[in-house]
């Protein structure tokens, strides 16, 4: 049972990190129609800026400074590059962000080097948030913080006690993602700015003639999307690793999230990232393969078939490619995505 809970929490926290990343991407796409290839690079820049800022002013101010810096960079990029190519259509827009991702990667390597940095979360987040204690007699209980060692071991050998701490960094990650989801949703649907943004999306000329600065709105949206990626970067970088390859490893997966959830749908991105996080985490736990399934169903396999490496491949081994398999299936059977509104 505690295995299920911990795995579920691991999956949810990973899924929520993916959401933090993909929300910015999907926001930019739905508002501006730009598929931002450099989005994961903003995530990486966020982690590095966060690292440097935390060296000087500490982690908590860095958590605010890094998204602001990355957001400003994003807005600047929109102002001086993206806006210029906007009139040439979507392909040049896509290519300019694609180029930016390479430039950012090289710049980061020039400034911070090619090796992984030691980005430690603050003291308060280093321990466990809570500990699940599974006692074979007393049942399951939850304890905030670290469980004392004597509670995790039983004097009697027949009693089995398992303590499963849940790291505070992951709890914090989940909290931030949920707060972010709430505030972005509120901003878009309940405020004046949100109304203007939504109107600028569908009727830019009307909005412009009402006296609103539409290019300014687009710049703010792009900056805000980048800032969200920067925030995810500070949290992801300190929880996992801060290194130049971090953009490449999440870059492909957030596109999966956005496509699976439905292009431009915030709730779709939320659903898809949770789904992918949980699927990927749980897939690691299962050792089922075609061979073990066949054995369970009583289908006899020939000696040749049972020594085939493809047949022996377990679910846990293919866990890393499952999201991409999921992407292909969605594109075949539901091209508009889980919660998307427009056709492929």
């Amino acid at each position: 049972m505690e295995f299920f809970i911990i795995s579920m929490l691991n999956g949810l926290s990973y899924g929520l990190l993916l959401f933090m990343l993909s929300s910015g991407l999907t926001l930019i796409f739905s508002m501006m129609g730009v598929l931002n290839f450099a989005h994961a690079s903003f995530y990486m820049v966020g982690a590095y800026v966060g690292y440097s800022a935390s060296q000087i002013v500490g982690f908590w101010p860095a958590l605010v400074i890094a998204p602001l810096v990355v957001g400003a960079l994003g807005a600047l990029f929109e102002r001086i590059a993206l806006r210029k190519v906007h009139k040439f259509g979507h392909v040049p827009e896509l290519l300019v962000t694609f180029g930016l991702s390479y430039v950012l990667l090289e710049l980061v390597q020039l400034i911070w080097g090619r090796l992984a940095l030691e980005f430690r979360p603050p003291e308060i987040l280093q321990g466990p948030a809570f500990t699940l204690i599974n006692h074979s007699i007393n049942g399951l209980s939850v304890l905030w913080g670290v469980a004392p060692a004597e509670m995790c071991s039983a004097a009697d050998a027949a009693v089995r006690v398992v303590c499963s701490p849940f790291p505070a960094t992951r709890g914090f990650m989940m909290l931030v993602a949920l707060v972010m989801l709430g505030s972005v949703w509120l901003l878009l649907t309940r405020t004046r700015i949100g109304l203007v943004i939504q109107a600028a999306l569908t009727h830019p000329h009307m909005v412009e003639s009402l006296g609103h600065n539409v290019p300014m709105v687009f710049m703010m949206v792009f900056g805000a999307g980048a800032a969200l990626a920067g925030l995810a970067g500070v949290i992801g970088g300190s929880t996992f690793l801060t290194e130049p390859a971090m953009a490449a490893t999440v870059g492909s997966i957030i596109f999966v999230v956005v496509v699976v959830g439905g292009m431009g749908s915030l709730s779709g991105a939320f659903l898809a990232s949770i789904l992918i996080g949980v699927i990927q985490t749980f897939a690691i736990a299962f050792d089922y393969s075609v061979m073990s399934l066949a054995q369970q169903m009583g289908v006899p396999l020939s000696a040749g078939a049972s020594s085939n490496s493809l047949v022996k491949l377990t679910l846990s081994q293919i866990a890393p490619i499952l999201p991409y398999l999921f992407l292909v299936l969605i594109l075949i059977f539901r091209p508009k995505g889980l919660l998307g509104t427009r056709e492929g």
Partner: protein, 411 residues
């Protein structure tokens, strides 16, 4: 024309006069093809520094042949394909000695490429000196005359590790976790084989392979290991794949033992910190508290680079190469290869031998455990205040394993 003939004659006389010491003062250009970027980059960078540090120590009067060693590095990003390009660049640059260690996948590709190159380019042969890749295939089914391994292969390490586990009666359930490439697969294979032979009562409760240098989050694996009820994990993981694993184990509250190959390697000591005292073991051909000259070198290395020296095979490469060049009276790889076969050298922990049949260095192995550094075992990697204290030494006759190598020797 006449002058030219005279010059050639004079040169010939000079060469004859020098005779026995033709190699003296020559520069031996060596290129290390290894990862210097990416997740596993820190290990490659540390080893390149180690090579350059010891090139200074062993050049000139430091070796019996009196040659000068010169090492440069090419980044292969841990990719076999990039390594083959790097090999070509190295050979074009005039290097006749290729060094590599990290990634048996790379090692297999390089060994194959070097063998083919030497077949096709007689007179331009290169030698491949392998400092760390431990896939047994390299000295068995895929052995090559041009490849020499200075680390101990997985069959040797597992032989020693299982001999130690034989004495640890509290080990009952074992989980094997590895990187999904030749090395991880071999570790799992030999772990099961040797444990089945020496401790048939041990239950293997789980086995997993994960992608090499891709996993950032080992928490799901730790949850799975805990759920399996394993009291011991055997892993051949190295670099970030080991440091992130032990980090996740600490965070996830896993309290079982870890039997590893590379606890002392960059990143893992910091990730372990004071956790894992008495629970994390390492099997290797050297350790941080060898004493004697090794201590002085390690202290000097640390003072110079603020990093720890752990790849002892580098020292042995210089020692055996120097001895072989003196024996061959040449730096020509063909002659040196012949001299390397079966050579015996006195190294930092006694005599080691480059076995002729498969080019596997025969050497003692050490089982060490992670614990607080004290007076007896003072060296503390990455300033953790902890050290790897030796528990048992396995001499050559224990660690030595048979080989199936049928090497094609140049006629």
């Amino acid at each position: 024309m006449k002058f030219a003939v005279q010059l050639v004659a004079a040169a010939a006389v000079l060469a004859c006069a020098q005779g026995a010491f033709a190699q003296q003062g020559q520069t031996v250009k060596m290129v290390r093809i290894d990862a210097q970027t990416g997740l596993l980059g820190p290990v490659g960078v540390n080893q390149l520094k180690s090579y350059q540090f010891f090139a200074e120590k062993f050049s000139g009067a430091g070796n019996p042949a009196g040659v000068k060693f010169e090492v440069t590095g090419i980044d292969n990003k841990l990719s076999p394909t990039e390594s083959l390009n790097a090999l070509k660049a190295a050979i074009d640059g005039g290097a006749r000695y290729i060094l590599q260690g990290n990634g048996s996948s790379v090692a297999l590709a390089l060994s194959d490429a070097v063998t083919k190159h030497n077949e096709r380019n007689p007179g331009k042969e290169v030698l491949y000196l392998n400092d760390s890749a431990v896939d047994p295939d390299l000295t068995n089914s895929k052995c090559s005359y041009w490849h020499f391994r200075f680390d101990a292969d997985t069959s040797m390490k597992m032989e020693a590790m299982s001999s130690f586990m034989e004495t640890q009666k509290d080990i009952k359930k074992v989980y094997i976790l590895g990187q999904n490439y030749s090395h991880g697969v071999q570790v799992a294979k030999f772990a099961k084989e040797t444990l089945g032979r020496k401790r048939p009562d041990i239950q293997i409760v789980g086995e997993d392979l994960h992608p090499l240098a891709q996993v950032r989050d080992f928490a799901p694996y730790i949850a799975k290991i805990k759920a399996s009820g394993a009291d011991t994990v055997i892993t051949g993981n190295w670099g970030s794949d080991l440091s992130l694993l032990v980090k996740a184990a600490n965070e996830g509250g896993y309290t079982g033992k870890f039997f590893t190959y590379y606890t002392g390697v960059t990143g893992t000591p910091s990730a372990l910190g004071t956790n894992g005292t008495g629970r994390v073991y390492q099997i290797a051909y050297n350790h941080y508290n060898m004493g004697g000259q090794m201590d002085k070198w390690m202290t000097e290395f640390k003072a110079k680079y603020n990093d720890d020296f752990y790849t002892g095979s580098i020292i042995r490469i210089y020692q055996t190469l120097g001895a072989a060049m003196a024996k061959a009276k040449s730096t020509d790889p063909v002659k040196v290869a012949a001299a390397l076969e079966g050579i015996k050298v006195s190294s930092f922990n006694g005599e080691v031998e480059m076995r002729k049949t498969d080019h596997q260095l025969q050497q003692p192995l050490y089982m060490t455990v992670w614990q607080k550094a004290d007076k007896k075992y003072p060296y503390s990697p990455e300033n953790t205040g902890m050290t790897l204290a030796p528990l048992k030494e396995y001499p050559n006759y224990v660690s030595s394993t048979p080989t199936s190598c049928q090497m094609k020797r140049p006629s």
